[in-house]
Amino acid sequence: MHEWAIAMSIVGSVEKWSLERNLKVKKVYLSIPSLSMLEVEILLEAFNTIKKESKISGAELEVIVREQNFKCRSCGNVFTMKDIKEELESVIKDYGEENPLHIAPSLITAFAKCPKCGSNDFEVDSSIRVEGIEV
């Protein structure tokens, strides 16, 4: 649901960027972590609705979903979402759709452990970022 708030933030920041430079935006490349379970369809729908009221109404959104490589800071093991499937499933089971990872994917270290050494101390690449703008 908060895909709409995120779309609002993208329109807002890209609009500001374009006004500052007096450039017309054709395309926005948004990169999101797969961990966030953000729905690309909703993001696109929200972006395309919100942009109409903005100065970037001609912009198209492309969403790139980043697969996650977690790196344990304790033992060095690198692992992926597949390796912590059970933990992820139980977060969804316990909290439902609006779960902590959906709202703040960085919280993963509170819910999963390195499969090799059992540490919660691993690196995450969880930010939502605009990676490129085509004008």
């Binding site: 649901m1 908060h2 709409w4 708030a5 995120i6 609002m8 933030s9 993208i10 807002g12 920041s13 890209v14 500001k16 960027w17 948004l30 929200a46 800071r73 909290y95 609006e98 902590p100 709202i103 703040a104 994917p105 960085s106 919280l107 270290t109 509170a110 919660n120 101390d121 691993f122 690196e123 995450v124 969880s126 930010s127 939502i128 970022r129 605009v130 703008i133």
Partner: protein, 242 residues
């Protein structure tokens, strides 16, 4: 480009943001933050954003143990009278939070960016210390600060460094609050840490007003229902707000 950071800035733009902070733990930040919000909420709707990811004291003070609702506009607050409360505790529920230093800032940006704040006055309950929370807050907004300390030497020495940083960073320090200064007894006032002269000196040196708050043993009975508290501490906080 970081859209959540931009959104956080946008949401707080033009609002009065009061950050209650201290370099020292357990000095009464959350208590003072709640009492500021409760006092101000008698005149206008007021929000509290709890940036203490690991403590979530605000929720504990108000006795909230539910999860936040989420709408198209983001995270919806818990409403207690005219106070709207946002906290990571309302996202993870009854569960510990452990984060690497580098992810802390991301969680805080998510909270600040997604909180659907509609109030014109926002109180920020800060965790102790000078870590990521302080930097994230500064990235997002230029707050006015209420700096809390005990009148003890140890606390004042620690808080002095935070004050130096705040002044270096051109952040406005509205008040230094010397909490738990004195206790009223039938025999007169007792100063558990001695007279709060060292706090006064620190304030004088920088031209910042110092407020003295008493110890109120009654407060303990209102843990989990601070919204019902109307004792001396709330009165004293009201005095320095007006």
């Amino acid at each position: 480009m970081n859209p959540l950071l931009e959104l956080a800035r946008e949401r707080l733009r033009g609002k009065r943001v009061i950050a209650v902070m201290s370099a020292k733990g357990g000095v009464g930040k959350s208590t003072v933050a709640s009492l500021i919000a409760l006092n101000l909420s008698e005149r206008q709707n007021t929000a509290i954003i709890d940036l203490d990811i690991y403590g979530n004291s605000t929720l504990k003070l108000f006795g909230i143990s539910k999860l936040h609702g989420v709408s198209k506009n983001g995270i919806e607050p818990f409403k207690v009278g005219n106070v709207s409360i946002f906290s990571i505790g309302g996202i993870v529920g009854d569960r510990y939070v452990v984060l690497t230093g580098s992810e802390e800032g991301n969680v805080l940006e998510s909270l600040l960016g997604l909180s659907n704040v509609n109030e014109e006055t926002v109180i920020i309950d800060m965790p102790p210390g000078m870590g990521e929370e302080l930097l994230t807050l500064k990235r997002v907004v230029n707050p006015e600060v209420f700096l809390v300390t005990l009148p003890s030497k140890l606390s004042v020495m620690t808080v002095k460094h935070m004050l130096d940083y705040l002044l270096d960073s051109k952040i406005e320090v509205k008040r230094i609050i010397a909490n738990m200064c004195y206790l009223k007894t039938p025999e007169g006032l007792i100063y558990p840490f001695g007279k709060p002269d060292i706090v006064e000196d620190l304030g004088k040196k920088h031209g910042i007003r110092v407020e003295h708050l008493p110890v109120d043993p009654e407060l303990e009975n209102f843990a989990g229902r601070i919204q019902e508290y109307s004792g001396v501490l709330k009165e004293e906080v009201r005095k320095f707000l007006s």
